[in-house]
């Protein structure tokens, strides 16, 4: 191999230095550009997360309210089965009445009115002491089924003082009639 003269060595050194500077700048700028793009993507991601979080934030209150209502009525609407809920309601009513000391009379179930968000109507009669009647009426909201008391009729029972006859009409609501909706935009 030919020995290089000092001038050639110097030229080679300068050339190598220039090449190194060029490559450093070239790849350095590319690296900086790439890092900047990553940073911009990250900022965009953070912004979208922030926006989404703002959308979701009000649902904390709604979820709390829903939780309180479910505890108050002692059932979760999502777990209701449409085809059995009327039977469950009738059973719960009878159980509550007999458990409260009432004597059951006839029970009648009827189909829903299509204009209302109802599955059906239950009518039944019961007799018993005044305290038992009122206790039963008080417990109607916590039977664990979605019922609304349509009417209450209380008459004096001729069988004895303090005895009452109760005629009750309750409506069983149909949860499926409540349509799912999109999350509210804030």
């Amino acid at each position: 191999m030919k020995n290089l003269t000092p001038s050639e060595q110097r030229t080679l050194r300068l050339g190598g230095l220039g090449l190194a500077i060029y490559l450093t700048l070239f790849f350095g700028l590319k690296l900086v550009g790439g890092l900047g793009a990553v940073r911009a993507d990250y900022a965009k991601l953070v912004r979208s997360a922030h926006t989404l979080r703002q959308e979701i934030e009000p649902y904390r209150t709604r979820a709390d309210k829903l939780q309180r209502l479910m505890e108050r009525f002692e059932f979760d609407p999502g777990k209701l089965a449409t085809n059995t809920v009327v039977g469950q309601a009738s059973s719960a009513l009878q159980r509550a009445a007999t458990g409260g000391g009432l004597q059951l009379g006839p029970v009648r179930e009827s189909l829903a009115r299509t204009t209302e968000k109802e599955l059906g109507t239950i009518q039944f009669d019961a007799t018993g002491p005044a305290a038992a009647v009122m206790g039963f009426v008080a417990r109607l909201g916590t039977l664990g089924v979605p019922v609304v008391v349509d009417s209450v009729q209380i008459n004096a029972d001729p069988r004895g003082p303090g005895m009452l006859k109760l005629h009750l009409t309750v409506i069983v609501l149909d949860f499926d009639q409540w349509k799912p909706r999109e999350a509210t935009r804030v």
């Binding site: 940073r39 989404l52 709604r62 829903l66 305290a131």
Partner: protein, 539 residues
């Protein structure tokens, strides 16, 4: 030259040798005569000349850091001790060695400038053997003050060590003899570490006197003959006589060297015209010991052998000063003997901090990106369930809104019914329509009953649909209808029994489980005193 050199003052290398200070800056040097006062301190004239010379050799710009003067001190007064210490870190090592200094030296550490040789090898596991060198603190402190007034920090080391740096590469056992007109020093080295160092009573001047006396020559002619023996002494016999005289004069010196057990070789340094003849005499006297001398022919002002050794250390990357004699209460000077002054540790930390600040946004993107993406996916999944929350909430809200206040109505009616009134039927529906029928005895009670129902403010209207006197006007049958008010107006009413205040302490309250206190005005008719019925008051 690089950018950092602009921030540093150039270093200086110096040697305190006898009655002169030799200073060198790499290009130029000076040999400054020293005059000491009675206490051994440099006098005012000496101080001024030294400061001026240092300012000339190491000019300092206003923006530059203080330079460092690497100063070699003579062996006079230096004591060496070998000690064994446990292997520890450098900071702990100094504390440990301070205790050793206290035990091994006659003066306390605060009275000494002391240091140690780092290259002690472990003699057994966990124990190192080090050599400590110490000298009284006054001379280094005094010179440190002088150099500080010239804007320089000083690092002291032993001249015997500095001038033998080139000989220590092989770490052989050897001796170093340094001679000048006024001083003589002998040091022995074992494995690169000095075993002994002492000042000798035979200076070159004294040896020349002895050789001249041996020949019987006047000193002037003797010195002229020593400078160039071949030119001055044409007669070979006279040259031989001169060599013999030097050999005779060097005999006690050679004996002292041999007594010090110099090992295989002796390294002779020094200045003066008689040095070649003395080396020649020593070669004869110390044979077969190998005598090595500095072959440099050009003499540079200020660049003594010790200065050259210190400068050589500065040129070797990573080479450290073998020994630093540090007076007490002086800040340690960093650096390895070359270009100190730049606090590289802090520079590196600052650079790392700056780099971290610059790269943090990008690192955050790399590290935080996947985390945010995962959380975003989870949030989007949650968002799909939000509609279901709305649906269930609407359903239960509807259910709650349609719970009619049957118990409230029964409570109000029961409270409004005066004694003597009997209700036969009560019908209520969720639209708020109330129908009730019964009789009152005496008849005015029916009207009173109606008035009380209106006064309860629970009903918006109360209508007596039928009022029929029976039993010769002893009683009256009635049938009424009413309509209760809306939810907001009903909410404003205070209905139901007043509950007792909860207990304010944790002590069990005797009456807390007692039945709720019922309004004493009218006894309820339709069972509103039932505990299960009273608290429940649906919307």
């Amino acid at each position: 030259m690089n950018a950092l050199n602009l921030l540093d003052t150039a270093p200086l290398w110096a040697e305190l040798r006898g009655d002169a200070l030799h200073v060198f800056n790499g290009k130029d040097g000076a040999e400054l005569p020293l005059t000491l006062d009675a206490d051994g301190r440099p006098d005012a004239t000496t101080r001024a000349s030294v400061v001026a010379a240092l300012g000339r050799l190491a000019p300092r710009r206003p923006w530059q850091a203080r330079g460092v003067l690497w100063c070699a001190v003579p062996a006079r007064g230096v004591v060496l001790r070998r000690v064994r210490v446990p292997t520890t870190g450098r900071e702990a090592l100094r504390s440990v060695l301070r205790l050793q200094v206290e035990a091994a030296f006659p003066l306390p550490p605060d009275e000494l400038a002391w240091g140690w040789f780092e290259d002690g090898e472990p003699v057994i596991a966990g124990v190192r053997e080090l050599t400590i060198a110490a000298v009284r603190k006054e001379p280094p402190e005094q010179w440190s003050e002088v150099f500080a007034s010239a804007g320089l920090q000083t690092v002291f080391t032993l001249a015997s060590v500095a001038r033998t740096v080139p000989q220590q590469r092989g770490r052989e056992t050897f001796a170093a003899l340094d001679l000048s007109a006024r001083t003589a020093e002998l040091a022995t080295f074992q494995g690169g570490v000095p075993g002994s160092v002492r000042s000798l009573p035979w200076t070159l001047d004294q040896l020349a006197d002895a050789a001249a006396r041996e020949l019987g020559w006047p000193r002037t002619g003797f010195d002229q003959a020593c400078l160039s023996p071949r030119d001055s002494l044409a007669d070979p016999a006279r040259r031989t006589a001169l060599a013999d005289a030097w050999a005779t004069a060097a005999t006690p010196l050679a004996e002292a060297v041999l007594a010090a057990r110099p090992g295989n070789s002796i390294f002779v340094t020094g200045t003066g015209p008689w040095l070649p003849l003395l080396v020649q005499a020593l070669e004869t006297k110390l044979a077969p010991l190998l005598v090595v001398t500095n072959t440099a022919t050009t003499v540079v002002l200020g660049r003594t052998d010790a200065v050259a050794g210190l400068q050589g250390l500065a040129r070797q990357p990573g080479a450290g000063l073998p020994l630093r004699l540090e007076p007490p209460n002086t800040a340690a000077v960093t650096g390895q003997g070359g270009l100190p002054g730049v606090p590289w540790k802090w520079v590196a930390r600052a650079a790392a901090l700056l780099l971290a600040v610059l790269l943090f946004p990008y690192l955050e993107a790399f590290v935080g990106g996947p985390v945010i993406t995962r959380r975003l996916a989870a949030l989007k999944q949650d968002r799909a369930r939000l509609g279901e929350i709305d649906r269930r909430l609407d359903f239960l809200g509807h259910l709650a809104a349609h719970q009619a206040p049957y118990l409230d109505a029964a409570f109000v009616i029961a409270n409004a019914a005066p004694p003597g009134t009997k209700l036969d039927s009560l019908t209520l529906n969720r639209r708020g329509e109330v129908s009730l029928g019964g009789y009152a005895q005496p008849p005015p009670l029916a009207i009173e009953f109606r008035t009380k129902l209106i006064d309860s403010k629970f009903f918006s209207s109360v209508v007596v649909e039928e009022l029929t006197p029976v039993q010769n006007n002893q009683r009256v049958n009635f049938r009424m209808t009413a309509q209760w008010k809306g939810p907001a107006e009903r909410e404003a009413l205070q209905l139901g029994p007043v509950l007792p205040e909860p207990p304010k302490t944790n002590a069990p309250a005797g009456g807390t489980n007692a039945p709720a206190k019922v309004s004493a005005t009218n006894a309820p008719v339709a069972g509103t005193n039932n505990p299960a019925a009273n608290p429940a008051r649906p919307n």
